[in-house]
């Protein structure tokens, strides 16, 4: 492939090839300083290719291909090449990851313990995790949580955080402008901007953490919190995992072990309230542990 970049994010290595220079250059800039894949061998390959040979030059149109592909995926404009590369990496994980149990979740860490925010898209998990990452927590990831089925520990996967529409402004007020990727407008999900994790998150990406609290956040409701039982947690987590079934018995053992972690559903009307709820529940969870 004409242009390529390889990078390691936590324990997973990617190589991204592209028929155009721009997407690879944008990806390399966003992930500057990230390590290379171990042994120089990527776990997954992503290819950004023209949908038809002539679409390399005429109204350039990107097909997202690689080790794993979605047959009817809509092509993307070259202007959104960075997004195509990110989507390509997501797709490899979602369809092809077989070593780590994947949860669709944002995770942050403090004192070696992990807070897992999981649930439906649009609940604001990425934004909450990004904010926590600037307030004394270490960001482990905003899209995928990687659970080691053998040890039960979570491993960090600090990708660039994908912020949409209003969330972009929220974070722009919090962090240095240099940490943002380009503004991508007119994507299927509106305006998107990628935020690079901070230096600490990148530096400590190889440090795992023990799950300590599971939260199911829901945006747009009056502040509330309720404990969630183990059976309900188990069911929600299987729904939040793209590869639970593929991991077989190891997946079952990993999740049944994980549901021993305290879990709560929280509703929040705004991010300030959410952050307060999170801190309160985290302190509470520490107390439960200390008392146990």
């Amino acid at each position: 492939m004409r242009h390529q970049v390889s990078l390691r994010i936590g324990p997973v290595g990617f190589r991204v090839g592209s028929a155009w220079r721009a997407p690879v250059a944008a990806l390399a800039a966003l992930y500057a300083g990230y390590p290379a894949p171990e042994d120089g061998i990527a776990d997954f390959t992503v290819r950004l290719e023209p949908t038809r040979p002539w679409r390399r030059w005429t109204r350039p149109s990107i097909a997202i291909r690689g080790d794993f592909e979605l047959p009817d995926a809509a092509p993307m404009a070259l202007a959104h090449g960075l997004l195509a590369a990110e989507m390509g990496m997501n797709l490899q994980m979602a369809l092809g990851q077989r070593f780590w149990l994947l949860l669709h979740a944002a995770t942050v860490e403090k004192d070696g313990r992990a807070l897992i925010l999981t649930g439906e898209s649009g609940a604001g998990k990425s934004t909450l995790a990004a904010l926590l990452g600037e307030r004394g927590w270490r960001l482990m990831g905003d899209e995928f949580a990687l659970l080691d089925p053998a040890s039960g520990r979570l491993h960090a996967f600090p990708r660039a955080i994908s912020l949409k529409n209003g969330a972009i402004d929220v974070m722009a007020a919090e962090v240095d402008a240099a940490r943002f990727g380009p503004l991508l407008e007119g994507t299927p999900k509106g305006a998107i901007r990628h935020l690079r994790p901070n230096a600490e998150a990148i530096r400590r990406m190889d440090e795992p953490a023990r799950p300590a609290l599971l939260l199911f956040p829901r945006f747009g409701q009056a502040a509330a919190a309720r404990a969630v039982g183990q059976a309900e947690t188990f069911m929600r987590l299987t729904q939040a995992s793209t590869n639970y079934v593929a991991l077989g018995r190891a997946g079952f053992d990993a999740l049944t072990r994980l549901v021993a972690t305290p879990a709560a559903a929280i509703d929040y009307p705004d991010t300030a309230t959410a952050l307060d709820l999170v801190e309160a529940l985290w302190t509470g969870a520490s107390e439960w542990r200390a008392a146990a």
Binding site: Q230, A231, R249, F252, T256
Partner: protein, 92 residues
Amino acid sequence: MAAPRYIAEPAETLAVARLDGLCALFHEPSGATHIVAPPAPEILDALREGAADAATLLERLAARFEVEDEAGADAIAARLAELEAAGLVRRA
């Protein structure tokens, strides 16, 4: 026509985790996970005494637990059909 008799998958094919009042079952031969509520786990257990139809099972369960027997056999038959569709029991 005689009511169908069923056999349960052997206990060693299932990994069981009790979560609150429910049971998560991992069935090794299929790789499938099932979350079942009582009396499904008790039915599987009672079936392991030997192949049985719904009425016989009802007797075995009554011998072990308090069971309401009004719609008992029909309810058991419905549970058995669900367990059969899930592959956890099959026709004898």
